[in-house]
Structures are given as C-alpha cells and as structure tokens.
C-alpha cells in the first residue's frame, strides 16, 4: 500500500517527567489558591476586572473559578503570546519590544524594535509571505483595477472573471475536474460540510480534527463518531459497527457515511494514513473528505499535497479541501473534486449563498503563487521552493532527533512539535528563545493534554541553512540548560566524537 516508508514518532517521555509535570501543575495550583486568598482578603492588589461594591449581592456576573487557570498560570507567562510584530511575517520579522512592570498584567512598549527575529511560528511553508515589490506587481495592478472588496455573494453578483480563472487554475493544479474557492478557510469547512451531509448521515471524524471541521460537522445535524487519531483499527471498527447496526434506534441504513480527516495535523505534525483510509473507504463504500490546510503545497514532490505524497490519484478522494492561508501566502479556501460535486456546491453551499466572495487582489496572489508552483511563470522557482522545504524539513527533524529531543509527527511534515512537558519550561523556553532572537510558538494545557505541552516549529522554504543552524544551535544550548533532551532513541548526540573514538580504536 505504501510506496515509501511511513515513519511517525510519538515517543513517550520517561515516567519521572510526567510526575514532575504534575508536581509543577500542583505547585502552581497551590500558589494560585494562596494568591486568590490573599487577593480576596485584600492583602494583594486585584488586577482582574471585578464587579462594583453595589453588585456584590447580585448573582455573580462571571465565575471566579473558571478564570483560575488564566489568572494564576497563564498570566505568569502571558508575554510569550500575542507579541506585536511590525513587519511581514517572513522567515525573519521585527518584533516590538514590550516590557511589563506588574508581572504581565499590563504591557508597555519601550519604543524599540527587535530586528530580524527568526520566525519559526508562521505557517509560511513555501515562503510566499514576502514584500518583494517585483513579486507582488501583478497583485498591485489587480488592486488598482478591481478594488479591495466585493460586496456581494457568489450567486448574486460576486463571481468575477478572476474567480473563474482561479478555480480553473486550482482544478488544474490538483488534477481534478473542477474547484470552487471561498473567501475564508475556516468558513470553507464550516459552511460546506452542512451542504454535503445532513440528518441521517454519519460523520466519522478524527480525534484531533480542527475546530472548523468540528463546527461544520455539528452544524450539519449528522451523527458524529470519533475515531482515535490516525488509528485505522478504530476507524474500521466504527465503519463496521455503523454498517452492521445502522442508525441508533431505527437500525435503518445510514444515508451517507463520510470520513473527515486532515492532511497534516497542525499540533501533532502527523500525516494522515491515506492509502489505508482509501482502501477502507472503498471496501465499506464511504466518502472521504480530506482537509489539506497544512499539507497543500507543503508535501508531495511538486507540492500537490498528501495525495501526491502517497502516489495516489486525486480520484480516490471524494472531496479535496484546502486553504490558501498556509502555503500560498493569501487567504481563503477551496473545495475540489468531480464536476457534479462542485456544481452542487455552487448552488447549495451556505457560503455561496450568504458569504461574500474572495477579493480579487487575494485571488491574484493565489494565482501568482500557484503559477509559480506549477512552473507556468517561466521559472523553476516553484519547484525549488518545494524542494527547499523538503530539504529544510528533513534536515531540521534529523538534527533534532540526533540532539535527543522528543519530536512528534511524521519525518516529512514541516510542522515540528517539540515536547516540553513541564509548565515551567513553557515560559522559560519561549523567553530564552526570544533572547536569542528566535520567535517560537508554545502551547500548554488545556489546549494540549496535560502532560504534553509543546513548542511548535513551522519550517519554511524561505529559511536558509544558516537560519536553521542558528535555531538548532540555540536549541542545543537551551536543551542542555533546560534538560529537554528526553529521547531514549537518539541516534547520536555527538557524531564527531564517535568518529574520533572509532579512529582511535583502529590504531
């Protein structure tokens, strides 16, 4: 089934790490209670919004306890999120320096900018987030010609020749019959899944699906069942039970069974097991909806996504969905597939009826990026970008594995989550990386499971080898300082030393 080896790592850290993580959260909780007590009794200044004295006898406006985590743990390390930037988020960007006088409750800008911070957090996989004047020339021309926005829906007056051109190009790029583009990537999922499935249908969705897929599934009114992340046995069991038992009480057959998966999962860095899912879908006659938000442009030999990565034909997937936000440096999403499907969506999609269509300069940016990728602009720049991304990804992951960090995900995915585990290390890691002029994204509980806080790196084609080496050296130092190298399977942390001893032994 698989034409090349499918290697995914989800290594578990040693048990003491989990124990220390819980201890960390426990200490944080106890101190949180202490501080709340001091705040309640007036021993400490209250920084959160509180009700007026006269309102104290009324039913409270909000639950104090629901804010416990935000108040006592998130506020301590809040300076690592929502950092204001003042340049385009390319491979490097400029940050506005901000300091806090009262432990992250308020910030103020010093007026300085931190220049050329290496950006490891933006979804800039192919490096199209650039402000090169020559590159964006066509976009500026279209902006002058069409204006900024279209104040109409697709079905009324909002379909321009730009949209038709873009849809033809997307269909050609993916190798399918037809495509339709929408103004918002999130809305592509949430507005189209209700058009495709309804009551009496069954949706089998992966555990770690994105919010937009969950919302679309919820809005459709279909029954939703969740299978374990990327676990084909779980999916097969659900499929078999669905077909054997039918709908919950009437036992009638389901009208439609649709499997919702993503190409690359952004928090885990894992790639979907597409060949197995397609064989399951063919065996049990279900439909497949593939959300390639992160994988279009980022995987595959020419950037056509997971379908190309696994060497499969786009006819195997019933609904190909993707976004232009990540690899194309624009905004919006598309749904592609057979002509009947897309024609149906043109008439029945909520987005086509109620939402405004994509604005022309953005469409032109996507057209330019896609033409570059397909090689239609006369250069091989597109292919070079895809190759560079692949090289960068493999290099980055290999070096991180060698250093001994625990990395999740597939060896070919440009999303690299590095596990930090302990809540104290989340703040320390992000702050120290900023001191070394590298911007990273960190995530903790409750967005991730309680023991699996992580830092997520997004490798870009625009990162040069020097930038990656800077980041890797910084990670090496920081890993030793913060004791993050938990992996028990690292190949070798110092390959050059190994070489030396081998020469010595040969003597």
């Amino acid at each position: 089934l698989y034409k090349k080896t499918f290697i995914e790592h989800f290594e578990q850290a040693p048990m003491y790490v989990a124990v220390l993580t819980f201890l960390g959260f426990g200490v944080g909780t106890i101190f949180g209670y202490l501080r709340d007590f001091m705040r309640a009794w007036g021993l400490e200044k209250r920084n959160v919004a509180t009700e007026r004295e006269q309102q104290k006898d009324f039913v409270p406006l909000y639950q104090d306890f629901e804010n416990f985590y935000t108040r006592n743990l998130y506020m301590r390390i809040r300076d690592n999120w929502n950092r204001p930037i003042c340049s385009v988020p390319g491979p490097q960007f400029d940050l506005m320096e901000r300091v806090t006088d009262d432990y992250n409750w308020t910030f103020r800008f010093t007026g300085r900018t931190i220049k050329n911070v290496i950006n490891m957090g933006s979804y800039n996989y192919l490096g199209f987030a650039e402000t090169d004047v020559n590159a964006l020339k066509t976009v500026t021309i279209e902006l002058q010609k069409y204006g900024t926005g279209i104040c109409s829906t697709r079905q009324e007056m909002g379909t321009l020749d730009k949209h038709v051109e873009l849809e033809k190009l997307v269909a050609k790029f993916l190798g399918v019959e037809d495509a339709m583009v929408f103004g918002m990537g999130f809305a592509t999922n949430s507005m189209n899944i209700p058009a495709l499935v309804g009551k009496g249908c069954l949706i089998l969705s992966d555990e770690l699906n994105h919010t937009s897929l969950v919302l679309g599934a919820r809005l459709s009114g279909a029954t939703i069942r969740i299978f374990k992340h990327n676990n084909m046995q779980s999916l097969e069991k659900l499929l078999r039970d669905a077909i054997i038992y039918g709908q919950p009480r009437s036992h009638r057959a389901w009208r439609k069974i649709i499997i919702l998966v993503e190409g690359i999962y952004s928090m885990e860095g894992s790639i979907v097991r597409l060949p197995e899912i397609v064989s399951l879908k063919k065996k049990y006659k279900a439909y497949l909806y593939l959300d390639e938000a992160h994988s279009i442009g980022a995987v595959g030999a020419t950037g056509r996504g997971v379908v190309e990565y696994f060497g499969m034909s786009p006819d195997d997937v019933d609904v190909l969905m993707g976004t232009f936000t990540k690899s194309f440096g624009a905004a919006g999403g598309y749904i592609a597939g057979k002509k009947d499907l897309v024609d149906f969506l043109r008439t029945h999609s909520h987005s086509a009826v109620y939402a405004t269509s994509m604005c022309p300069p953005v469409a032109e940016q996507i057209i330019r990026a896609m033409k570059c990728l397909m090689g239609q602009d006369g250069t091989t720049q597109g292919l070079q970008r895809v190759r560079q991304l692949g090289k960068n990804t493999r290099y980055f992951r290999r070096r991180l594995h060698e250093m001994g960090f625990i990395i999740y995900g597939n060896d070919d995915s440009p999303v690299v989550p590095l596990l930090l585990y302990m809540p104290g290390k989340i703040g320390a890691f992000a702050r120290r990386m900023l001191e070394k002029n590298i911007g990273v994204v960190v995530v903790g509980f409750p967005a991730t499971p309680i023991t699996e806080s992580r830092a997520r790196f997004c490798v870009s084609a625009a990162h040069t080898r020097e930038m990656l080496d800077t980041v890797l050296n910084a990670l090496d130092e920081l890993g030793d300082f913060l004791h993050l190298k938990y992996s028990r399977y690292s190949k070798s942390s110092h390959p050059e030393l190994y070489e030396e001893t081998r020469l010595e032994l040969e003597d």
Binding site: Q12, M15, V17, A18, V19, T21, F22, L23, G26, T29, Q63, F65, E66, N67, F68, Y69, T70, S205, E207, L208, N209, T211, V214, L215, A217, R218, L219, T223, I224, R225, I226, F227, K237, L238, D241, Y245, P248, R249, S266, M267, E268, V443, F445, P446, A447, T448, P449, I450, T451
Partner: protein, 192 residues
Amino acid sequence: MYVWVLAHRPGKSLYSPISGSVVLPARFEMLCNLFYRIKMNVGVAHSEVNPNTRVMNSRGMWLTYALGVGMLHIVLLSIPFFSVPVAWTLTNVIHNLGMYVFLHAVKGTPFETPDQGKARLLTHWEQLDYGVQFTSSRKFFTISPIILYFLASFYTKYDPTHFILNTTSLLTVLIPKLPQLHGVRIFGINKY
C-alpha cells in the same frame, strides 16, 4: 470568543451513560459518550470538551498521587512531637481532607470549557470520565483511602480514639463517591 453551538437531546442528562439503546461493546461506549458532545473548541488541539475528565487518567497521575501521599507521611513522621500512631492518623485525616476538598467540594473547571457550563455545578469527581461510573480512575481513588485506612488502623493498634477519627474521616471521603450520590447535594450544601 466561543461560539455556542450545542444542541443536546432534550430530556437527557449529558453526564449519564447512554442507556436504552443497542448493547455496545465497552470500548465503544466511551466513543458513544461523545456523540452528543461534539462542540467547537477554539484554540485547542483536540476535540475533548472538558479536559478535566481526562486528567486523572493521564500517564503518571496515579504515581504522582501515591508519591504525594508518601511525601506527606514522611513529613509528618519527621516531626518529633508526633508518635507513629499520631502521624498515621494525621496522614489519613489530612489526605482525606485534601481529597474531599479537591474532589468533592470544588466545583467546575479552572478554565473555560465549550460545554456551555454543563460542568460548572459538578464536582471533579462527578466530572470524571463524563459521569461514567466504575472506571479505573474511580476505582483507584476509592480504594486508596481504604488502603490508607487499613494502614492507619494497623499502626495505631486499633486504639478507640484513633479509630473514631479515622473511620469518620474515611466515611466523609467514601460516601460522596457512591454512584447513588452522583449530583446529590444534601441540605443544599454546595449546590451553586
């Protein structure tokens, strides 16, 4: 910030296991409990509505808990004024007090959840595994105060005063765990 798009089956409590439908294998039941709980989780990496329900099942939690109790006991034994029976009774009582406060007194979640406040009036014990009874975490946390009680009774040599103290404190922690008392608030204490 969160879009409320919940619509659950009318007349069915969200925190009771599915009943009256097809007999399904046990593994599948957990998935079934998620049928009516699929909501929008903004900014999170999973479709888990209330992460509090899974905390006690996490890897390392039971070990941390056991080590914590052990540490408490060692600290109490180190205090020179306490004899061994007193230290054991104190361990038992303080452990049960802590367990009562954190599992049966504190309600809701320390973070906002997208379940529109279904868990706000529920204690952590009632939230565990979305109200499914007799899961492994529930069994573990029911058995551990009993084991502590046995040890304390042994080390206090079944002295009457210690016995009364230990038994009452064990009862305060065992009775709220009964499935019949799921969601029950006696005399309206701790209702809101």
